[in-house]
Amino acid sequence: MTDIAWIDLALASARPKALGALLRYFRDLDTAEEAFQEACLRAIRTWPEKGPPRDPTAWLIFVGRNSGIDAVRKRSKLQALPDEDVISDTEDAEGDIAERLDDSNYRDDILRLLFICCHPDLPGTQQIALALRIVSGLSVTQIARAFLVSESAMEQRITRAKARVAKAGVPFETPSPQERAERLSIVSTMIYLIFNEGYSQADPRHEAAAFSDEAIRLGRLMLHIFPSEPELMGLLALMLLQISRRPARFSAEGEIVLLEDQDRSLWNQLFINEALALLDKALRHRQPGPYQLQAAIAAIHSRAKRAEDTDWTEIDLLYRALERVQPSPVVTLNRAVAVSKLRGPQEALDLIDPLGEKLGGYFYYHGLRGGLLKQLGLTSQAREAFDHAIALAHSAAEAAHIRRQIDKMQEEAAQPIAK
């Protein structure tokens, strides 16, 4: 790695903390972003010569703050003088920078910064775009390519989202423990959204695939500043377990490989070990939440050396627990897979039939239904369900996967049973 590459990484990992602190100071996202940008430029000029500072984040906040103040002053000469509180609280201005460099002081800054991006008025895709732009500092070009829209359209989308958030106002007071917990949960959801946006991509070389790594980075950051939140441990564990399977999820031809058919030796064991350690820690808190439960389910798959070693009884139990904490037809649909393994396709089918109304537009619903009907030998009904699924597929890989099921079924139907 060259020095410059290391500096890039250091700037990226310092970004949420530094930008969060600058935002609190200037109380304006654009000013904070400009100040951070300027600090980064100076870092690229100074660090290679003088060596990296011991605490890059503190350096960036300090330099960014000075350059931001200069910029605000310059602007104020051209315009009317700003109120003192536009720049900051006097308390902030006089505070010793070294004093606020502990992680505990970053907590609310970062949380606020992330929270801004998941304003409830914004649709999920805009939350993701805004967070990637502001918190992660990805370029508009990168984000636009990932979402398959033009750069100008993405630029507009982000500007509009920013305006909307600005109009809604951002609370700068220290949140109460209750508010903090709420924000934490909303931010966790947004991080998981970012993860899934990347993870759902069939092609790991696709621009959006990098979003998953970014989400893991944000997850690590959150856990770093809130080290005793079992749900954050669960979220990070869940993301690590899922991404550990990335090398095995698609065939060389880009087709989906089902969990039970994956080559488990390709799974990233380092990620799995870390996730299991996190989950272990989380369980000590005895506050199971949706992320911990989902991670626990994923962990059971990761612990099984072969697909047939999977402990479906435990998975069924965990899904039942998840249904209680976070009831959703999708959770029940997932439990149906465990039920089919434990008690056969008919019982699973009975479980998911009532979900048709809510999940009628859901690819996996028809895919699973087709699979279960196929197992029962109800070929024409299975065919119908598979056709539904293909029509609802999000990607070519999903459609191809179902088509292969149909082909297999037809081959089997064409041959007399020779067992």
């Binding site: 790695m1 060259t2 020095d3 590459a5 290391w6 990484l9 250091a10 990226a12 990992s13 310092a14 060596g51 990296p52 500072p53 011991r54 605490d55 890059p56 502990d102 992680d103 790594d213 980075r217 690590r220 950051l221 856990l223 770093h224 080290p227 005793s228 441990m233 990070l236 070990n273 870390e274 350690a277 996190l278 820690k281 000590r284």
Partner: protein, 124 residues
């Protein structure tokens, strides 16, 4: 004399390395370790999971307290360690300098001589 060489760095940067960046750094580190391993002076080498995976047990009033996170909240975290057998501190310093040269960023190595060493047999 046995020395522990402890590697401290900014874990947020280290754990943000891409697979390729990570592989490149590890390869360079292995190259530095190799001659020592050949000469039989290199003992266990451990790379630690991030501090988010750490748990601290601290003496409490009645019962020990269990706290999530590493013992010390510092900018730089202990990310791994080496056990090496050197005749002099100078050799340990020279080896650490080599490690530091191939490790990007502001990585520090702390050299601590051993009092007692039991290699154990848990490693697989």
């Amino acid at each position: 004399m046995l020395y522990a060489i402890l590697c401290y760095a900014h874990e947020e940067t280290v754990f943000a390395w891409t697979k390729e960046e990570e592989a490149a750094v590890m390869e360079k580190l292995y190259a530095v370790q190799e001659p020592l391993a050949v000469s039989g002076k290199l003992g266990p080498v451990g790379r630690l999971m991030p501090t988010t995976a750490a748990t601290t047990v601290r003496k409490g009033k009645d019962e020990a307290l269990v706290i999530d996170g590493p013992f010390a909240e510092t900018k730089e975290a202990l990310l791994g360690f080496y056990v090496v057998d050197f005749d002099t501190l100078d050799e340990a310093v020279a080896f650490s300098k080599q490690l530091s040269a191939v490790n990007p960023g502001s990585t520090s190595y702390e050299i601590r001589p051993f009092y007692v060493f039991r290699p154990g047999d848990a490693a697989s």
